[in-house]
Symmetry: C2
Subunit: 339 residues, 2 copies
C-alpha cells in the first residue's frame, strides 16, 4: 500500500494582467473567472478525493491568507504563510519540511485552469508512481499552439508511465516554438510537479546548499498555530529567491515528464481567459457588426459596434478596452500598477 | 433704421446617436458636449447682442420645456410648445405667426456647434439684408470634406452679400459629394435660414396651402401663459409634417444663399463630436499603443491598449465602444432605443 499524495498549492502573485477584475485586494486565484468556483477552489476540488490525496498544503503570502481561510473553509488544509516572496523553490521546500520524507508532493499553482480533471488525475497517478521511484516529475502540457510565453520540456527515453526529461527550454522565439509544436516531443512547462519530499530536499541541497540551509532553518524556527504555520522570517528573508525550474529541475539527473492533454490554461491574460471561456462574454452587452469581441462587465451594459478582436472589461470604477493581441500589456497600465 | 432680427431656435429630437450621453430625459441640445455651456445655451449666446437681435423664440416639444426653462433662465425668451412633432416647416410657421410680417426670422437648430461666432454673425447680417429684400436665405456651410450625410446647395448668380440658389441637392453618394467639394460652388445645408415672417408665410401658403391653413388655425386658437405659448393641439396634430427644405426652400423662386466658413458641425454622432473637440478626450483615461482613440467618461477611468480609430463613452450604467466609422450606427443600439 502506497502513502497518499499531498497536494502543495502555491498561491502567490496578484495577476495584474487580469486587471481590473484582479486587484491588489482581490488576487487572481480567488476570483471566479471560469465557472462558479474560484481558480483556487477548483485547484482544491481537483485533489479532494481522500482515497488518493491527503490534506492540501497551501503556501501563500500574508495578503492571501484572508482569502484562503474564507474560500477553503470547508476543507482540512494546512497553511504555510511565507514572510516574504522568494519564488517557488523555497516555497516548495517549506512544504517538504512539514511532510514525511516518503510523502509524495503534488505541486500545483493556485491560479491555473484545467478543463479535464479526469485527464489531470490520470497523469497525477502516473507522476506519483514515478515520484515514488525517486524521480522529480513534471506534468508536461501538450501544446496546441506555438506559444512563446511558456517554457518547454523535451522528453527523452521512455519510463513506466512517462519519460526521462531530455532538456528544459526557456521561452522560445516564435520560429522555435512553431518547430517544437510540429516536432511533437515538446511539452509546455505548466508548473505542476510530483516528487517525494525527501527527493526534493536532497536535490535542492545538492544544487542550492545555501538556499536549502536557510529554508531548513526557517522551517525549524517557525511557529505553528492550529493549521497555520509561519516560518522564521529572519532566515527566510535571507534567501535569494529562485524558481524550482532553475534551482532543481534543470540541474537534476532525476527529471521525468508525464505528458498530458487536459484543457490547461494559465489564464495569463484576458485573451487566454476568454479562450478558456470559449469566447463567451459575461454581463449585459450588445454587439453590432463585431467579430471576436468579448465583454466582461460587473454591472454597466457594454455596447460595441464595428470592432474585431477586442476585449472590454468593466469593473467598478475601471473600464478596460484592449485589442486581443495587446492583452498581455494590461500589466503596464497605471491602474494595474495600483496608480 | 431696420427692425431687429428675431432668433428662432428649433429644439427637437433627442440625438440618439450621441447615446449614452444623450438620453430620452437628457436630450442632446441640453448637454455641455463642447465647452462649458450646452449647445442650446451656445445657440442663445450667439444671438444675445440686443443691438442686433430681439428676444429669441424657442420652438420645442413638451419634453424639452423643463430643460429650456432651466437653461435659459436669465434670458428674455418666448417659448412655443408644440403639441406634437411635425418637422420644421410647421414649427417655423408657428413662430412666424407670433411675429410682425416685417420681422426678420433667423432660424437656427438648437443642437449644432459653431466655432467661429464672428463669422456666423457676419453671415447673419448679410442674410438679414437679403431677407429684408424678400429672399428666403440659407446660410451655406463651406464643405471641408465630401460628407454624404448632408444635403448640398449650389449657388447661382451673385446677389448683394450672397447668391441666388441654383439648386438644392439631397444627400449625395460619395463620388458626387467629392465632385461637389472640388467644384467649389456647393455648400452644405446646415438648417440655418433667414427671411421675414411675411415672406415665409406667403411662400408656405403658395406651396403648402393645407399645412399653412392648419398652422394658422393652431396659432390662432392657441393659448399663451406668460412667455409660453401653446398652439391648439387639434389643428396642429392634423398637419402632415414636412421639412422647410421640402415644403418651401426647394420650391420657391426667392431662395438665396450666403456661404460661410465658421467651424460648423451638426455634432451628428460621436465621431463628429470628437472632431469638433479636436480629438480631445474627457475624463480619466490612459492610452497605450493607441492612435486616434477618444474617450469620454463621466467617472470610471477608461484604459485602452492597442487600438486605432475607436471611441469609448462611459455614462452611468452604460458603456459604449465603437469604431469611429461606425459611430453613426449608435442609434441602432438597444440602449439608444430606450430598451
Amino acid at each position: 500500500m502506497t502513502s497518499s499524495i499531498r497536494p502543495i498549492i502555491l498561491s502567490g502573485g496578484s495577476g495584474t494582467r487580469l486587471w481590473p477584475r484582479s486587484r491588489a485586494d482581490r488576487p487572481k486565484p480567488f476570483l471566479d473567472l471560469i465557472g462558479e468556483r474560484t481558480l483556487f477552489q477548483q485547484a482544491l476540488d481537483r485533489v479532494n478525493d481522500t482515497a488518493q490525496f491527503g490534506p492540501a498544503v497551501i503556501v501563500a503570502g500574508e495578503d492571501h491568507v484572508v482569502h484562503i481561510v474564507e474560500q477553503a473553509a470547508d476543507q482540512p488544509i494546512e497553511l504555510i504563510v511565507e514572510p516574504c516572496a522568494r519564488n517557488t523553490a523555497p516555497a516548495i521546500a517549506l512544504a517538504a519540511h512539514r511532510l514525511a520524507r516518503d510523502d509524495v508532493m503534488l505541486v500545483c499553482p493556485s491560479d491555473h485552469f484545467i478543463a479535464d480533471t479526469a485527464a489531470f488525475l490520470d497523469a497525477v497517478r502516473a507522476a506519483a508512481a514515478l515520484a515514488r521511484d525517486g524521480n522529480l516529475v513534471s506534468l508536461g502540457i501538450t501544446p496546441d499552439h506555438p506559444e512563446t510565453g511558456y517554457g518547454y520540456i523535451q522528453r527523452g527515453t521512455p519510463l513506466d508511465g512517462g519519460y526521462r526529461v531530455d532538456r528544459f527550454v526557456e521561452k522560445p522565439d516564435s520560429e522555435t516554438a512553431a518547430f517544437f509544436v510540429k516536432d511533437g516531443s515538446y511539452s509546455w512547462n505548466g508548473g505542476i510537479f510530483a516528487f517525494t519530499a525527501g527527493t526534493y530536499l536532497e536535490e535542492l541541497a545538492k544544487f542550492r546548499p545555501e538556499l536549502s540551509r536557510l529554508v531548513a532553518s526557517a522551517a525549524q524556527e517557525g511557529s505553528g498555530n492550529g493549521n497555520i504555520f509561519r516560518p522564521a522570517a529572519i532566515s527566510f528573508s535571507q534567501i535569494a529567491g529562485e524558481s524550482i525550474d532553475y534551482a532543481v529541475m534543470e540541474n537534476t539527473q532525476k527529471a521525468a515528464i508525464v505528458p498530458v492533454t487536459m484543457g490547461w490554461s494559465d489564464i495569463g491574460n484576458w485573451n487566454s481567459l476568454f479562450d478558456a471561456r470559449n469566447g463567451c462574454s459575461r454581463g449585459a452587452h450588445e454587439l453590432i457588426d463585431c467579430n471576436r469581441v468579448a465583454v466582461d462587465t460587473d454591472g454597466p451594459r457594454v455596447s460595441v459596434i464595428g470592432l474585431e478582436d477586442v476585449i472590454v472589461v468593466v469593473d467598478g470604477d475601471e473600464v478596460l478596452v484592449t485589442s486581443s493581441k495587446s492583452a498581455q500589456k494590461v500589466g503596464q497600465l497605471g491602474g494595474a500598477k495600483g496608480k
